[in-house]
Structures are given as structure tokens and as C-alpha cells.
């Protein structure tokens, strides 16, 4: 059956069965934050709150090894033997409880990390065998604006199974054949009328979302305000350059590469990085093309709303999840910045 109703109390049993074959990453509470962790029996699921982190960490971990190296001395006094070994990951995973905005963020990753020109071997190794079970949202947060940027609380694109919350359970709908296989492991009853009721809740949520941003106007005005440093200083005044926004964002994908180890052995790591930090663009000569905080925030917002759409058929890289708004320690709000660009008028400047 493609659509069934699963009781909340049966979810654990379903995950147990899924976990026999794949690593299931599911949302749980840690120190007040909702994060994805590998599911094991006895795990306390957090099924209602929007996860603080995004599913990107499952296919693009905060830290991963790209290669290991070794350098062995040569007894005869010749040059030492140096070797580098590729360390490609293997992962069969299920992301359980992603939100549509988080799944949408992976859409940005797919375009950047797996296209005709470049294929990131590490990302694609994890991504190709990752299935996604998404929670549709019936109660968006006040910071959600996914409908402004092409998404929606019931958006099924990229998901294998959609779960629509309803009362004491979920209406579960298989979106792909992989999703159907996963759903066949669940204990459920025919959905019947509950499918209509659950989807109506999500539709109501959709209608309650804020006024759309005028994306074309933002793009047009960005050029106009680009060199108005007063404007950007105002927008970035409160920003601490901490990078939390980028780390939590489902579509931010910047990284650093560093070596860790001794001269004789060690590994090369890739770790998340963020364009809000000064060192991100500091050149060895001392020159820094984005030396001021205002320039760095301009780049982050520009990348989301202007640069990415320029190269990806108008698609905005911000997925409207609001994570950066909720978790910014100084309440910088990307919606307000987008709106300020939209309203920017340089006639009177």
C-alpha cells in the first residue's frame, strides 16, 4: 500500500526494522537542541519540534577524513617514501524526520556537489544510498518562510516517504519505490479519510505563511545597493561573525581542508567553514577581499538570493527554514535583510 496510517506508538518498531539494514538518523533532544543522531532501540525521539540542525550533517559531516598519508624514512639515505590513501565513506542511511526545508537544502548540495563538471566523491558516496522520511509541517514556526522561496510545508520533492501528522499518528505516503519498500516495514492501517484530513492541515499551514518576498526585485536591487556600505553596515551591525547561521543552514556548504598529524603519518580533513569569518578569504599576502564584516554578510545574503539563482536558473539557495534566525545569538534576521534589499531605493541617495 502506498499510503497508510501509522500510530505514534508504532514508530519505534518501524525504526527498529529500518535500522536492521541502514543507519537511521532520527531527531532527539540534546542540551535543549534537537539534533539527528543514529537511532538505537530505547532512543527518545523528538517528533514535534523543528530540528535545530539540518539533515546536511548526515551526508556532509562537520568533519570527515579525505585521505590518510604516511611518510617513511629511507634507510639508504634516499628520499623518504610518501603515500596518500583515499578514504571514501560507505554509508547506507535513512534520514528520519527531515523537514521539507532541510530536504530542499540537500537539493542545493546535489547541484553543487554532483553535476556534470564536478562530482564530490565523498558526498556522493553517502548521498547515493541515503533515503529520506520527511515530516510535513502542520505548525510552522514564526520564523518559517519556505513558501517565499519555492518550498512549502508539504513539499515532497526529494523525499522517499512523507509523514503527515494527524492526532495520535502520521499518514505515511510513499513517494518513491525506495519509500514504498521502507513503508512495507511499518505497522499501519489503511489511511482512508485520514489522508484528506492530514493534507488539509498542511494546506492550512501553507496558507498561513507570510507574504512572499519579491525575489526578482531583490535580485535587481542587490546590484544597486552593493556598493552602499552604509546600508550593509546597518544590516550587519549586530552580527558577531560567529558563523552559527552558516553551520545550521541546510544549504550552506563551504568547507576548509586541513592536515592533522605528524610528519610521518596523519590525515587530511575537511570541516565546515563559513563565509562570515575574517580568515575565510584572507590571502597570504595580507590582502583580504572581504575584510569588513559588512562585506561578509553581504556575500552570504548575496549568495543565497542572487549569486546562486544566477547560476541555477533562478532558484534561491535560502530554503526559508529560519534556523539562522532562531539560533543567531544577536537576532540578525535574514528575512529583514532580504526585505530591506527589496525595498532599497537609491533614488534618494
Amino acid at each position: 500500500m502506498d499510503t497508510i496510517f501509522i500510530q505514534r506508538t508504532d514508530i519505534g518498531r518501524w525504526l527498529d526494522r529500518l535500522a536492521e539494514e541502514r543507519t537511521v538518523f532520527a531527531p532527539t533532544r540534546r542540551d535543549g537542541a534537537v539534533v539527528y543522531r543514529p537511532y538505537r532501540t530505547g532512543f527518545v525521539l523528538e517528533l514535534d519540534a523543528m530540528p535545530t540542525t539540518s539533515p546536511k550533517e548526515i551526508v556532509f559531516p562537520q568533519n570527515e577524513t579525505l585521505l590518510t598519508y604516511s611518510r617513511a624514512g629511507n634507510a639508504s639515505g634516499g628520499a623518504p617514501k610518501v603515500e596518500a590513501r583515499e578514504t571514501l565513506p560507505e554509508q547506507k542511511a535513512v534520514i528520519f524526520g527531515a523537514r521539507p526545508c532541510g530536504v530542499n537544502g540537500l537539493g542545493v548540495f546535489d547541484q553543487v556537489f554532483d553535476n556534470d563538471k564536478t562530482r564530490d566523491a565523498y558526498y556522493t558516496a553517502r548521498r547515493k544510498d541515503t533515503r529520506i522520511i520527511t515530516f510535513a509541517c502542520d505548525r510552522p514556526r514564526s520564523t518559517c518562510f519556505c513558501t517565499n522561496v519555492g518550498g512549502g510545508p508539504g513539499d515532497a520533492a526529494g523525499s522517499d516517504v512523507m509523514l503527515y501528522p494527524l492526532g495520535d499518528g502520521f499518514v505515511a505516503e510513499a513517494v518513491t519505490t525506495g519509500g514504498k519498500a521502507m513503508l512495507s516495514l511499518a505497522t499501519g492501517a489503511p489511511a482512508g479519510d485520514r489522508e484528506v484530513a492530514a493534507k488539509a492541515l498542511v494546506e492550512t499551514a501553507r496558507e498561513a505563511m507570510p507574504e512572499p518576498l519579491e525575489l526578482a526585485r531583490i535580485r535587481e536591487n542587490f546590484d544597486k545597493c552593493f556598493n552602499d556600505m552604509e546600508f550593509w553596515e546597518e544590516q550587519s551591525g549586530k552580527c558577531l561573525s560567529c558563523g552559527a547561521c552558516a553551520y545550521l543552514c541546510p544549504s550552506c556548504h563551504c568547507f576548509n581542508i586541513t592536515d592533522e598529524g605528524t610528519e610521518s603519518e596523519g590525515k587530511r580533513l575537511r570541516s565546515w567553514d563559513n563565509c562570515m569569518s575574517y580568515t575565510f578569504t584572507a590571502e597570504a599576502s595580507g590582502h583580504n577581499p572581504r575584510a569588513a564584516k559588512a562585506m561578509r554578510l553581504r556575500n552570504r545574503v548575496g549568495h543565497k538570493f542572487v549569486y546562486f539563482p544566477e547560476t541555477h536558473e533562478g532558484e534561491v539557495a535560502c530554503r526559508g527554514c529560519g534556523r539562522c534566525i532562531v539560533s543567531c545569538p544577536s537576532s540578525v534576521d535574514i528575512r529583514q535583510i532580504a526585505k530591506a534589499i527589496q525595498e532599497y531605493c537609491d533614488d534618494d541617495k
Binding site: 623518504p80 566523491a121 565523498y122 568547507f255 549569486y307 546562486f308
Partner: protein
């Protein structure tokens, strides 16, 4: 690239080193896999990422010419951790190489044109590869002029080349240093000023420049003053790069990535990008 993993370097061996100046050293390397070395192709302007495992990776232009494939040459200015560590390497040492990366000089477009090279400091490296390529295909190009400047006589890299180029009848060369120095028989003055005195004619001429950001800026202004249209000014840019293949998001200027859309740009292209050089 012979591996499908763009972040995985190939091993290579340093076959020769040349001390250029107090802080610039040249490394000639060959890929260890003979077939990979034989099949290696690139065009002038493309770069590579050199790895010293345990220290890190940095970007350098392949400054040898594809017309001379005995080795790949990189000339490295010592400025930080990786470059300082690379400077300690000797012939026979092994490093990692990811190359070729990035775009190249539009050689087809340059055919039949006069070419004016303006290089400053280590910025001479990307010009060297194109200049040698042109000298090896001399009949394809018009008049070739090089203006090369360093801070002092001791900062002039590529001495072997400079001797050879000075002796050639089929190119002109002007050398300059910032301040007068004993025994210096060439020009004295900043590159943009010397350039203005040279009064090169912009007609059918393409200017190719590279150097520190401030030098590029004033050189471009001087070229514009001399009547060079933006389409006829080509430069190569630096950025703090990591992945070199458009993934890490570090090197963007607006929607363009210096690592894949560059490092070679015409001034006409750059002018239309967000002004964030």
C-alpha cells in the same frame, strides 16, 4: 585529472629546484605515474594544488609551458606555512599534485595580435607560461613586449629566462625596479608609471597582466588611460583557495568562482562582477 576524486592528489617527485630570489624558489616536478605524466595536458594559465602532507595544500600556477612537457614547473613565494614548508623540499622529495585546475588564457583569441605582458613580482609566473608558449609558436603572434618589475634587483625571478629573452630579436623586454640600485642598468620606477612612459599602442594589442592586487589595479588604470579597451585587458586573479574545483565556496566573486571560472579574466568580465577584488 586521472582520478574521479577531485580532492585526491596524485603523487609527484621533485626533479629539480632553482633558487630564484631570497624568497622565491622554483620546483620542477614529474607525476610518479609515467602514463599520467605522458597524458597530462594543460593550457597556459591553469593552476595546480600542491600538497605537503601534514602541512597542507596551496595553489600555484603551472608556469612551465605545455610546449615543453619534461616537467611541470611551479615557482613559490614564501609567505606562510605551506609555502615555507615547500621551500624546505629538495630534489627527490615527493609531494601531492592536483592539476590542471581552472581556466586558461584565450590563446586562440590572442593569435595574430600584438601582446603586451605586464608582470609584477611573483605575478610573472602565470605570464611566463604564456610567453614561452607564444615564443614556441612565434609565427602565430604579432609583436611581443614584456614589462617586468620587482622591488629590487634581488627580487627579479626567472633570471635564466630574462637572459634568454633579452638576447632574442623577436621580442622586446623592459625591466624595472622601485628604487635606484647600484649596477642596475634598466628602468627605475613603479610598473604603471614605466608603462605610461612606454606608450604602447592599443591597436590590435592585448595586454596581459598579473601581480599584487594594488599593482593590477593601477596597471589597469594606466592601460585604460593609454586607450586599451576593457576587452583587451586580461588579468589573472588570486584568492584564498582550498578545493580548487568549485566546491568549498571560498573563492567567489559574485556568482563566479576564481578556481573554475578563473583565474584568468578579461577586465570587461571583471567590470561586470560585484566590485570585490
Amino acid at each position: 585529472m586521472t582520478t574521479n576524486n577531485p580532492l585526491m592528489p596524485l603523487m609527484a617527485t621533485i626533479v629539480e629546484t632553482v633558487r630564484e630570489t631570497a624568497n622565491i624558489k622554483t620546483f620542477r616536478v614529474r607525476l610518479d605515474d609515467e602514463a599520467a605524466m605522458r597524458d597530462f595536458t594543460f593550457l597556459p594559465g591553469q593552476v595546480g594544488q600542491l600538497s605537503l602532507f601534514g602541512v597542507g595544500e596551496s595553489t600555484f600556477v603551472i608556469n612551465s609551458s605545455p610546449t615543453r612537457m619534461d616537467y611541470l614547473q611551479f615557482s613559490i613565494l614564501k609567505t606562510g606555512e605551506v609555502t615555507a614548508a615547500l621551500h624546505r623540499l629538495k630534489t627527490g622529495d615527493r609531494i601531492g599534485v592536483r592539476a590542471p585546475l581552472g581556466n586558461w588564457f584565450p590563446v586562440e583569441l590572442l593569435k595574430g595580435k600584438d601582446i603586451l605582458f605586464v608582470g609584477g613580482g611573483i605575478g610573472m609566473a602565470p605570464l611566463r607560461t604564456l610567453l614561452i608558449y607564444m615564443l614556441d609558436n612565434r609565427n602565430d603572434f604579432g609583436k611581443i613586449t614584456l614589462l617586468y618589475g620587482g622591488r629590487s634587483p634581488g627580487d627579479m625571478a626567472f633570471q635564466e629566462d630574462l637572459k634568454e629573452w633579452a638576447a632574442r630579436q623577436d621580442m622586446d623586454m623592459v625591466l624595472t625596479i622601485d628604487n635606484p640600485a647600484d649596477g642596475w642598468a634598466h628602468e627605475v620606477g613603479l610598473i604603471p608609471n614605466v608603462l605610461k612612459e612606454m606608450k604602447p599602442t592599443p591597436e590590435n594589442c592585448i595586454a596581459v597582466t598579473c601581480g599584487p592586487p594594488i599593482m593590477i589595479k593601477f596597471t589597469v588604470m594606466a592601460l585604460q588611460e593609454l586607450g586599451f579597451p576593457d576587452e583587451s585587458i586580461i588579468t589573472t586573479l588570486e584568492r584564498r583557495m582550498k578545493c580548487g574545483v568549485g566546491l568549498c565556496g571560498r573563492c567567489n566573486i559574485g556568482g563566479k568562482y576564481v578556481c573554475v571560472d578563473g583565474p584568468v579574466f578579461s577586465w570587461a568580465e571583471l567590470k561586470d562582477l560585484p566590485q570585490e577584488l
